[in-house]
């Protein structure tokens, strides 16, 4: 059975002139242990799909299932990494990472021990007592990832987590994320508007269009794992990227495929 299944999901927001349909007829399946990215133009509703999967947003039609349970509210089987990390500024890194466990009523010793484990996993050992504002954007996102992993969810939901980072940090974080993911290969649903992120990370890319906001294509990414920066140079990667660009921009993007002239 699929880990996540979307059955004709529709997400609508109330608007002045009746409901505004952000997502319609979204049907897809995500297998256990799969890394799936959702890519599409801004405003195509990809983040709405993610929030609905967590249960923070109610679907106005259709159904989302995690295993055999229909999603209605957030649960300990899912955890979100938010675009802006959304860390509590008055808490130390340690205490932020332990937050999810604290909400579940896990005892202090146990949750701090878990927090330290995950802080170590994301490469932030030594920063346990720092506050979020003392960290760079990339480090804050590492904390966000540690906080989500700390509750040991079945599904990790990532909402453009590297969207606010500079291009270089972004690529480093993508590679880091794959390293972390490789430890226990949880099911990941990763929303992005970066074509490179979408391909580099994914086993499967759900490509969404705009108006109507629905899946216009599913691309299975058959690149060897573990992946590193070198994969971005491979022919297969470049083909996937061209296909994505064609779907989203209507023409193949030459920028990456052609080496710089200078």
């Amino acid at each position: 059975m699929a880990q996540i299944s979307y059955d004709h999901v529709e997400i609508a927001y109330p608007g002045k002139d009746g409901p505004f349909v952000a997502v319609e007829d979204f049907t897809a399946e995500v297998e256990q242990g799969q890394f799936v990215t959702i890519v599409g133009p801004s405003g195509c509703g990809k983040s709405s799909v993610l929030m609905a999967t967590d249960g923070l947003l109610a679907a106005s039609g259709g159904a989302i299932q995690i295993g055999d349970r229909t999603v209605s509210r957030p649960g300990k089987d899912r955890a979100v990494v938010f675009q802006d990390a959304s860390l509590l500024p008055w808490r130390t890194i340690e205490s932020n990472v332990a937050f999810g466990l604290e909400m579940q009523g896990v005892g202090k010793q146990e949750r701090l021990a878990a927090a330290r484990r995950y802080i170590d996993l994301v490469g932030l050992s030594g920063r346990e007592r720092s506050y979020p504002h003392q960290l760079s954007g990339g480090m804050r996102q590492r904390v966000g990832i540690a906080r989500a992993l700390a509750i040991d969810p079945e599904v990790l939901l990532m909402d453009e987590p590297f969207g606010a980072l500079d291009a270089q940090t972004r690529e480093v974080m993508a590679t880091e994320l794959l390293r972390i993911w490789d430890v226990d290969r949880k099911t990941v649903l990763f929303v992005t508007h970066s074509l490179d992120e979408a391909i580099f990370l994914a086993d499967k890319v759900l490509v969404m269009g705009d108006r109507p906001s629905r899946i216009i294509e599913v691309i299975d990414v058959d690149l060897p794992r573990p992946r590193d920066e070198a994969v971005r140079e491979s022919e297969a990667y470049i083909r996937y990227r061209a296909r994505l660009a064609e779907l989203l921009f209507g023409k193949p993007a030459a920028t990456v495929a052609v080496p710089a002239a200078s």
């Binding site: 957030p74 938010f82 509590l88 008055w90 909400m103 506050y131 504002h133």
Partner: protein, 271 residues
């Protein structure tokens, strides 16, 4: 922020490195006060200004000595302090929870907001005669008006503190299945704390002023009563002493709350 950065970027000389950045602030402040006092004293002594209206710092100090020595000040200060403490204390004890509740729960906000806004925009000190009629000329009416004057500021700020909480933090907490109560205690309250304390500081200022004004209006004991008596008798030196005393008290109370504000926001200290 930019200023702090550019300062740090400049190579530190031995002198600037030895002096802490906060020390300079105090030095400048004290110097400006001393200069003004010296000018005041000098122009009085040299007869540039009519001493009968303005007094001089030394005369004010002397009058203060007399007031303290005679024991006249002590009893009046105790009375005024008691009115301040009960009025402001009550305002804080009622205002902070009420404001937080109004920020948290829509129904509570809908219930109390019209009332709070109306009182907020009313110069409630003009209602003092009504309070005196109802509660007498004694301390009760003064406590009541002090309470009214500061509680609204405290409510409004406490409410704003809760409402200004970053909704993304609430969303993250909800995603981790935080209960409503946990969201209140672990997200809304810590986020609102600095604004709540800022509201208390504003409340202190209003309370101090209201104590004096209420006592000016009528009564038999209190700093305001003394001020009123010396003012009527045109005895400027003790009048000045008492006014400055009130100002210093307000400043100290506000500075203490500023300390509290810093203490409850340790994550801002190293910014």
């Amino acid at each position: 922020m930019t200023i702090a950065l550019s300062r740090r970027a400049r190579p530190a000389t031995a002198a600037s490195a030895a002096r802490r950045p906060s020390a300079g602030k105090y030095v400048v402040g004290i110097v400006s006060v001393v200069v003004v006092l010296a000018l005041w004293q000098l122009s009085g002594t040299l007869g540039w200004i009519p001493v009968a209206y303005t007094s001089t710092p030394l005369a004010v100090l002397g009058a203060g000595g007399t007031l303290i020595g005679s024991g006249e000040l002590g009893a009046n200060v105790v009375s005024s302090l008691a009115i301040f403490a009960i009025g402001f204390g009550g305002g804080a004890v009622i205002g902070v929870p009420l404001g937080m509740l109004m920020g948290w729960r829509l129904r509570a906000r809908q219930t109390f907001e019209p009332l709070v806004t109306a009182v907020y925009l009313t110069p409630s000190i003009v209602l003092l005669p009504i309070f005196v009629l109802a509660l007498g000329i004694g301390p009760a009416s003064k406590v009541a008006i002090v309470f009214i004057e500061c509680v609204i500021t405290i409510v409004v700020n406490s409410m704003a503190g809760i409402r200004e909480t970053d909704p993304r933090l609430v969303r993250a907490a909800r995603s981790f299945q935080a209960s409503d109560w946990a969201i209140f205690m672990r997200v809304l309250l810590p986020s609102a704390l600095p604004t709540i304390v800022a509201g208390l500081r504003l409340g202190v200022g209003r309370a101090v002023i209201t104590v004096v004004v209420a006592e000016l209006y009528g009564g038999t004991i209190g700093i305001g009563v003394l001020i009123s008596q010396y003012g009527t008798a045109l005895r400027i030196a003790p009048l000045m002493f008492l006014v400055i005393l009130v100002g210093v008290f307000g400043y100290v109370a506000s500075a203490l709350l500023r300390r509290v504000e810093v203490a409850v926001t340790p994550w801002r200290r190293e910014r």
